[in-house]
Each structure stands twice: as C-alpha cells, then as structure tokens.
Homo-oligomer: 283 residues x 2
C-alpha cells in the first residue's frame, strides 16, 4: 500500500500529520490524518479512530477539537478519516445537498447503482484504513477504539456494535442513533441501500444494540440546545433499548450546548479519558 505524507506539524510534543493514499476499497484517492503522541518514541500505542459528521473531512477534528493535548498526555494515537469517497470520478448528489453523496458516506457499504462502486465506507473504515495504519505507524492493533460526531457518531456506534472484538470502547457526540427513523438516514439509505428497508437495520444503532451479544463500554454526550436533536438525532430511542437490554451506556445531556465543535471541544477530554481507561485494562 502506497501513501504520501502531505503535512506534519508539531503539537503538544507529538506530531500531527496528514496523508493521501489510493484506496482499493473506495476506488479513489483518500486523505486521512494521524496524531502521533510523544509516547510513540517508546513503542506502540493504542489507537482511537474518529469519524466526522456531514460535510466533514479528516481535518475538522484535527483543527477544532483540541484533542491533541489530552492524547499527548495519555499516549493515544488518533486517526481521523474522511466522510465519503472523493474525487471527480465519484458520483455526488445531483443537487449537491450536504446530506448525501460527497461528504456524506454514512459509513455503509452501498449496494445500489451508481453508488456501490465507490461508497464502501464501512469496509474502508473497518478494514482498509486500520490495515494501512497498523502497517505504517506504531499502532497497537490489539488496542483500538472508535468515536465520532453526528453522522460519524452513527458510524462509530454501528461499527463498534458490529465489531465488538475489534474495538474495545465506543463514544459519540450527538450521534444519529437511528438512521432508519430520521430524514437524513432515510434519504441516504434509500439511495445507498435501496428502497427495501430490510437491510437498513444492519446500519441502525438502535437495532444493533438490541441484538448485541457482547457489550463494550459506550459513552454518548448530547447538547440540549442541539438544533438537530428532535428531528434527526433522537437519542431517547437508543436509551430506551439500552435500558431494556441493560447495555453499559453512559449518557450525558449537556445543558445549553449545540451541535458544533464548540460542544465537542468542551467534552473531548472526557471521551479520551473514557477510552484510555478501557484501553489500559488487560484484555
């Protein structure tokens, strides 16, 4: 696998770097970013994967979340991924809406034309990207966790629930918890997965959590003034099922916070410490 380093900046004693590579899974060129904490000088460190929300790229979290400070303290590698396949050859929403197509891959494997050639974000995030990271960085592949925001929170939750042996913990800021029951998800799944709704539930956190055989620690933060809370995010749907099946979900309503990175920045330290605690435990 070939990759090219595009940027490197020292921050909090570690290195924030950015790469591009040709993705076999997505049939296009992709960017990702990696924060290497100072502790990598001493050997392999655990890895946190971050998934951004609609319109995001690998860079939003790097620039806006302020996570490197705590990652440098705890010795966590943070890998941030893009939100969809990219490039002129990748089909986009005909109306170029922000909530479908480029910037809105929803972390699924599309089964429908014209999307399925490129929109295989589930396989990219769970297989190709970790393989690339593990082969090229001092990442301890036995210790990885995943987190994300909004659509990326949906991605993190579904990916962790489907792969509880690959990820030790999962967290989300303002996640879409049930794409099959919100307009964003319905629009995307209808096109990526087809009109038959039966396969949709395989990418629905509420359904997946109800079926989970192995329970890994889960943390969710949700701002009470989030503009998408009622219509799109609907965290109560997940809370109800978690309660029914006694899932270890820590959920925090954050009074007065909205959907922005100002909210994420305020609580990202809690998320990193949550994951670090789990990742430091003996497996």
């Amino acid at each position: 696998m070939i990759m090219e380093k595009l940027a490197s900046n020292r921050i909090f004693g570690g290195e924030q770097c950015r790469y591009k590579h040709k993705s076999q899974t997505l049939s296009c060129e992709m960017h990702f970013s990696v924060y290497l904490p100072p502790q990598v000088q001493g050997g392999k460190q655990p890895v946190l994967y971050w998934l951004s929300g609609l319109t995001g790229t690998d860079e939003n979290f790097v620039i806006k979340a302020g996570a490197q400070r705590v990652a440098a303290e705890l010795g966590l590698i943070i890998v941030t991924a893009d939100t969809s396949p990219r490039g002129d050859e990748v089909p986009d929403d005909p109306d170029h809406d922000y909530d479908f197509g480029l910037g809105a891959g929803f972390y699924v494997n599309a089964t429908e034309e014209p999307w399925k050639e490129h929109y295989q974000m589930y396989d990219y995030i769970t297989k190709e990207l970790p393989a690339l990271i593990n082969a090229n960085f001092p990442a301890d592949e036995t210790r990885q966790s995943i987190f994300g925001h909004s659509m990326g929170g949906h991605g993190a939750l579904t990916i962790a629930l489907k792969n509880p042996d690959k990820y030790r913990s999962v967290s989300a800021f303002a996640p879409i918890v049930s794409p099959i029951k919100c307009p964003w998800g319905a629009k995307a799944f209808n096109q990526y997965l087809g009109e038959d709704m039966a396969p949709w539930k395989e990418y629905d956190s509420v359904y997946l959590l109800s079926q989970a055989k192995k329970h890994i620690p889960m943390l969710i933060d949700q701002g009470t003034e989030d503009e998408f809370l009622e219509n799109q995010l609907k965290p109560h749907l997940l809370l109800e099922v978690a309660d029914e099946v006694d899932y270890p979900l820590q959920y925090n309503d954050r009074e007065g916070y909205d959907h922005s990175y100002f909210f994420i920045a305020s609580f990202v330290e809690n998320h990193l410490r949550f994951h670090h605690k789990v990742l430091e435990e003996e497996s």
Copy 2:
C-alpha cells in the same frame, strides 16, 4: 454605538459569541468575537485582546487555539479582532497579495493615500474596540492585557509598549519584532506610512522597547522550525535590546514547532496563565 450579535455557542461553560458593528475609526463594518467565561455571571472580569496574523480574521483563534478551556478556568474574557478594515469600499493590494491590504493592516494608522481613510487599525484596537467592549460586556477596564501571533504579535508588542498604562502585560507567538527590518514590514510601512522611514520606528517593537520608560511583563514563544524565523521574525533583535535595557522579557525557544496554530494551541495555556497572574495582582 450599535452592534449586532451574529452567533453564540456555549463552550466550556461560557459563551463564545460573534458580532458586527459599524466602525467610525475604520469607516467600514467590522466583525469581532468575544469569549465570556462562566465567571461573568458574578461580575466584571479582566480582558485579554488577541490580534491575529496575516490573512487572519477574528475567528482563527476562536476555532483553532483551544483557549476557551483555560479562559473558563481562570475567568478571562478574550476579545479577538479582525486584522484589517473590511468591505468593498476598502482598498486592497492591487495584486491581492496576502501580506498587504485586506487581512494585513499591521495595526498602524496609515498616513498615505489611498490607505489612510480606512487603515487606522492602531486607533481601532486601542480606542474604539475597547470602548465598545467596556460599554457592552462585563469587562473590567482596569484589567486588560494583549497578545497576538506573527503580525498580531507585532501589533500586541507595539501597542503594549506604547500604552503601558492601558495594558498590564503583553505576550506574543512568533512575532514580527522589527517590521522596519523585514520584508513584510518594509512593504507594508512603505505604503501605509510613506517612503520616509522616520515615522516607521513608532511601530517597531525593537525601537519602542529601547525607549520604554515603564516596563510591563512580556512573554514571547518562538518555534525553532518556524518557516519565517530567519527572514521575517528575527527575535534576536528584540532579545538584544531587552538585554541592554534590562526589560522583563520571558522568551522561550520551542524546539521543533512551526508558525501554525498547532504551535499556538500547544502553548496558549502558558500565555493565559502568564496574563492571569499579572491581572490578578493589585495594581
């Protein structure tokens, strides 16, 4: 004075907000941002003014520096200003270079045509903006300090050195310390202030520091891998004069850091604690 609130986001228990107003000094509409820490609920708090570098606006620091966390802990209001007058009526560099005209006001009062009508950033930062802040926010006008980055570091240093009774402390990341001896400064001063170099020294930190009657605490951080270090920033010029006149300058070389906000984010906590300590002392 009329101003309009454009945005408000909760972050670290405080409020990050953005405003626009009609500037009398600059004869145009300007934007600025204010972080109000939670402590403003209990009364007036000290104020830190931030000045950004070339191409910056009032928003770079807000989004990228991660300062709100420490400001919320210490109870500091942070006001971030734009870097030049703005608007279609404001003349720009004919070549639209990044280092002159819009986004590059250099915090001086221009004396030459066609710049002098709008480019009065020194008066805007030292008079109009503080008056607006003090009249509309819970700011303790007896306790204010100033800091900035690159061109904004030059702005902070010159403004503090010229107004040691208005600002209690000053700090800078990678400042231009002697605009009269670097290409960026020479280009800008030649046009804003005219070909006669005599008036230039009134905006030159090295000269101003050599003449300073009142010494206020000063902190400078400089990355050793800064791409502008040798040709534009030249901190040794300031260090030499500070040594000669025994100025209380704390200077830190930061090994491996560059000119970016990744550098600023890494050390902004030190700067806020530096200012806070001074601002908490009895005057």
